[in-house]
Symmetry: C2
Subunit: 349 residues, 2 copies
Amino acid sequence: MMKKLIPNKQIVLNHYVTGYPKESDFGLRSSTTSCTLSHGSTSSAVLLKNLYLSCDPYMRHRMSDHISHSCTIVQSFTSGSVLVGYGVSKVIESTYPSFKEGDFVWGMIGWEEYTLITTPDSLNKINFTDVPLSYYAGILGMPGIAAYAGFHKICYPKEGDCVYVSSASGGVGQLVGQFAKLMGCYVVGSASTKEKVDLLKHKMGFDEAFNYKEEHDLGSALRRYFPQGIDIYFDNVGGHMLDEVILHMKVHGRIALCGMISQYNIEKPEGVHNMFSLIMKRIEMKGFVENDFGHVYPELVELCIKYLQEGKLVYVEDIAQGLENAPSALVGIFYGRNVGKQVVCIAKE
Amino acid sequence: MMKKLIPNKQIVLNHYVTGYPKESDFGLRSSTTSCTLSHGSTSSAVLLKNLYLSCDPYMRHRMSDHISHSCTIVQSFTSGSVLVGYGVSKVIESTYPSFKEGDFVWGMIGWEEYTLITTPDSLNKINFTDVPLSYYAGILGMPGIAAYAGFHKICYPKEGDCVYVSSASGGVGQLVGQFAKLMGCYVVGSASTKEKVDLLKHKMGFDEAFNYKEEHDLGSALRRYFPQGIDIYFDNVGGHMLDEVILHMKVHGRIALCGMISQYNIEKPEGVHNMFSLIMKRIEMKGFVENDFGHVYPELVELCIKYLQEGKLVYVEDIAQGLENAPSALVGIFYGRNVGKQVVCIAKE
């Protein structure tokens, strides 16, 4: 049995958050992690050196002291404790047979330099390293599963479908649009700046894109890009946008509810008033979480790596440098400051 | 060629309706119907003597001069013209090979004593007459298809599911609850009077029922009857009820949107605020209309007639007598005055 004490910088939640999160809601703590890996014991553990942290909108819920709409899928962070989220790490010590020193893994880790994982079967081994390791916090990680499963398993897409994606340049949206293009769909995305709109049109291959902040009348914008209506809406924002899009759906349209980032920082969610159109147009609206779709991961990896190598798929990341800059990166996604998938690099291999 | 002039009393829409419909929105007109049935010509027609009219909530939309949320499934009535709706009739003359004098049919007819149908393939022949003919305006007509398809094809029910039905004693709701009981589900319905609640519990076999008007806190009522949550919500009312029910759904629950009668007479529909729960609970919400499910009609008829004969299914009707009382019956359904499926008998065979 070895006894270790490792100096470990950590990002902690100073207190529960109301409204938009601020950098001051988080703190940087110089701590020491005591870890004991008992080789040969029945309990297995893995000690990780963390490399990349993923900044994801769902983390906002965990910053509240009670998560509204009772659900079992996410729990509040503990105030005063280290944040937890998806990330990419290197195994530096292991008593778990499936992982050995030097392996790379992705999964739920602490926002800290080192994490001791006592339930290592929750980690995913990274077998292919000819792509940036950070991709395992994005296209080849949770956001990739959300995009792939949400589009292919929830939306029933077919060639020629008219697809609308909101928050389209984000970690999930940019993939949904590209998956849709690869299927021969007509794809339009919306985002919050000209830079992102340009990315969508010129780098990610969307047919059209628009800056929703410049549209005084969202309905006109949707009519302009979808004169015949929308077959598939991949919703990352919720609220008023969702309400308006319903009016522009085609008969038998499908709406995948992936996230509602426009609603996370407001006290009372906006009401969706156009529900009756769901009946008249026989629309299917389905909420989903990527946790239910772990089984699609192998096909996602195979497909994405093939397309990445062939240059048919791109993935745009916004990489902040240094653990001390992680709170600012996380806060930034709620203001749309990130251009592409927001990750934080806290160490090179 | 015969030329006929038939005295024909008709119910007309006096003017388009705002808010709740009133009896004065409708008029009784003594008219004469001129009909010419050309035997041997290429065009076929059927002259019907109308027996039963069905009063259905969706008709409210047709009373408005513009139907909000552009859709192709229903059109506005023509102001000053005769109302149209589902009904049961007897063929008194026919140049259409499939129907002969004396046949009974159901389908879209005028709110009048006699209707000349020039597109007779839209009518359904009634082959089984050992049940009240009025059933073809209810359990064996459109409401039956809505209940059967909506429950079995939209909700994916399975034995033991916890099922909630709103507007549960109406023409559709009472069937949904009984179909669910026949599958071995736990079924709770809500209605607007004690009389209806008693019917649900003691005649229609619901496990539980409650008067939503007597519940100050809908959430408490739902928690009382569904301590573990709801698997299936069959929504006939929309609005605030739908918003509240979402909070009480189980993970992977299903919501069939059949109608939203609470919203039809108000200017701006109530907002549904709890949409984010659809994601956290991975809920599928699907709008449907019975028009898409004509193909289930044969199995519906076979099943219902069998269960009716075996006494395993009941169908409660509220039958108004006389065409002149049709407007009052129609208006009444928007105030919940009907007890059971509202039909109007305008003639015996």
